[in-house]
């Protein structure tokens, strides 16, 4: 099962390696990890998607909490969070296939972000499941490259996690 954990950390050098090292040495599986600065420049927010069970995710939370650089963390529950991931996909694109590909892009609410004589790069911001589907739909046109940001998420409504 997948669990999404939102973590506020001190924005120092070395924080990312402390957190990723913790996952590695305790055998926790990370599906994705996304980091970025928050409105407070001293604080970064990490969103980590963990694959495991209740025991593992509880251990993950407790062990993360022990790191001095971790200010606060919270598990974001299914149905109570807004989550998004951004993907850039570059596919082979010839005049013959171009309109078909653009159809897929439109239907999926994605955008064409770059076009060349032989390629098309599309971008989509969506939940991970939709991104999977988007990749699947473009597969027949021969995907050349994919870059995904990993999931970021916030609580729905007025719930917040603040330093």
């Amino acid at each position: 099962m997948k669990y999404t954990i939102s973590i506020l950390v001190e924005n120092h050098a070395g924080v990312l390696s402390r957190i990723s090292g913790l996952f590695a040495r305790r055998g926790f599986n990370i599906d994705s990890l996304a980091v970025g600065i928050t409105n407070d420049p001293a604080v970064s927010r990490m969103t980590i998607v963990v694959d495991g069970n209740e025991y593992i995710v509880e251990q993950v939370e407790k062990q993360l909490n022990k790191l001095i650089d971790v200010i606060r963390l919270r598990r974001l529950e299914e149905g109570e969070k807004v989550s998004r991931e951004l993907v850039l996909i570059k596919v082979e694109c010839t005049p013959k296939t171009r309109s078909d590909i653009i159809d897929v892009v439109r239907v999926m609410d994605a955008k064409v972000s770059d076009l060349s004589k032989t390629t098309l790069t599309a971008e989509l911001s969506a939940q991970s499941e939709k991104i999977e589907l988007f990749c699947e739909l473009l597969e027949p046109y021969h995907i050349l490259e994919i870059a995904r940001t990993g999931t970021i998420a916030l609580d729905k409504g007025n719930a917040t996690l603040n330093a």
Partner: protein, 536 residues
Amino acid sequence: MTITAAQAMVRCLQEEGIRVVFGLPGAAICPFYDALSKTDIRHILVRQEQNAGHAASGYARLTKRPAVCIATSGPGALNLITAVATAYMDSIPLVVITGQVSSELLGRDVFQEADITGSCEPFVKHSYLVKNAADIPRIMKEAFHIAGTGRQGPVLIDVPSDVQTQKIPFTYPEAVHIRSYKPNLIGHPGQIKRVVSALSNAKRPLICAGGGVFSADACEALLAFSQKTGIPVVTTMMGLSCIPANYPLNLGMIGMHGAPEANRAMNSADVLLLIGARVGDRAIMSPMGLCRNAKIIHIDIDPAEIGKNIETDIPLVGSAKLILEELCERADKLHAENWSLDLQGRRAFTGESWSGVIRPKRVIQTLCKRAEEDAVLVADVGQNQIWSARGFSIPHGRFLTSGGMGTMGYSIPAAIGAKLAAPGRQVIAVCGDGSFQMQMMELATIRSNSIPVKMIVMNNSRLGMVRELQDTRYGGNETAVFLDGNPDFVKLAESYGIPSCRISNDGDIDEAIQNMLSCADAYLLECTVSPEEPTL
């Protein structure tokens, strides 16, 4: 007025009340040593950096405060890692100071450069690579605070040599402000009520005390609670000696190598109160089995330990001392029946005297009888550790060992630290010939600083515990366990000017132990042990 960051580091140590530090210098830490030499802080020069870490560990365990060890950059710092990891596993508070190459050279793989903060990451509670000299007072203050509070552990401060020489204005902060670090000491009142209720309904309640009882300085509170309620106590190896050896409700040490009475008690209890014990695999091999039989109450300062290795019915996060005091106050109605009577009766080691070889169990028994009643026994790792732990019976003594990491070579440096921390107590290190040879360079430290620690070397010319494992589990294929080429340990000690003696007959044990203990100086007693001597 400004001073150098190196001088500031030393001032910080003084502010923290540090009297003794352990280390071995090198180029990158020289500014600090220069400043240190101009103070009255005593520096103990070890012969290998790892032993500075172990000595600081022994010192910290007796003073109950963070202790300091120092090494230079690169290999010096790397040599410390084993000691840092050893301290981390046993939750021993250390402030580890390492020199680092000059800031502008960082990352270029220059001479004696090692990423020590990166290397130590899994073994430290926290670490700092100091980039800005002005941060030194805050970082030192935080380091001592983090090391010595909550679940204690080592904190590393890596200081590039150029940072050490920069001038900064000095004021030592009065308080620390770390927004993410606020250990919870006070037990949740609702959970405490649940504990009291569970204990009052128990027929066969049992306390299992771990090393956390020492960390929380909760030994007296534990004894008071057990005395008031009549609940018997078993300990893990790390908890050994947290309750007087002759206390009638002390059932002894549990675990793979524990006392049968203690293990039987663990399996018979209906409510088990784990205090500062992390349910390590050597202490509790099948936690699932325990859960089936007993209601588990787990008291620990570290929330991450609760539920990690054993399912818990009542978790209680906080300081063992505060919680035990609180429980003691509310325990008026608790009067456990003395269900443990039939479990008691630790058997003294008997059997005929041997000659030609010494029986280690008899040595430990005699040592515990002859030692002063608050003596400190530091056991190394291997068969000697188990002989020492099982035989430990110094009434108000202290037992030290590397419990979690099982680091050979711990005992003598840790004994050095313990003796410096508690000069009035007898300190005896017990090791094997294998572990002795991992630390024997420290005989020079003992000599040059006149530290009267006693050392007992159980010489069976083997890596005895591995030998035994190979016999029982690998069809008797004894391999790579023969310590041929051992030096003459008595002559070796003599060459350092340390009085010593070798015994090979059980009949000589008593006199030899008395000679050792009455010697004003350090002393090495070598016991010839049979290569076939079993652990249990």
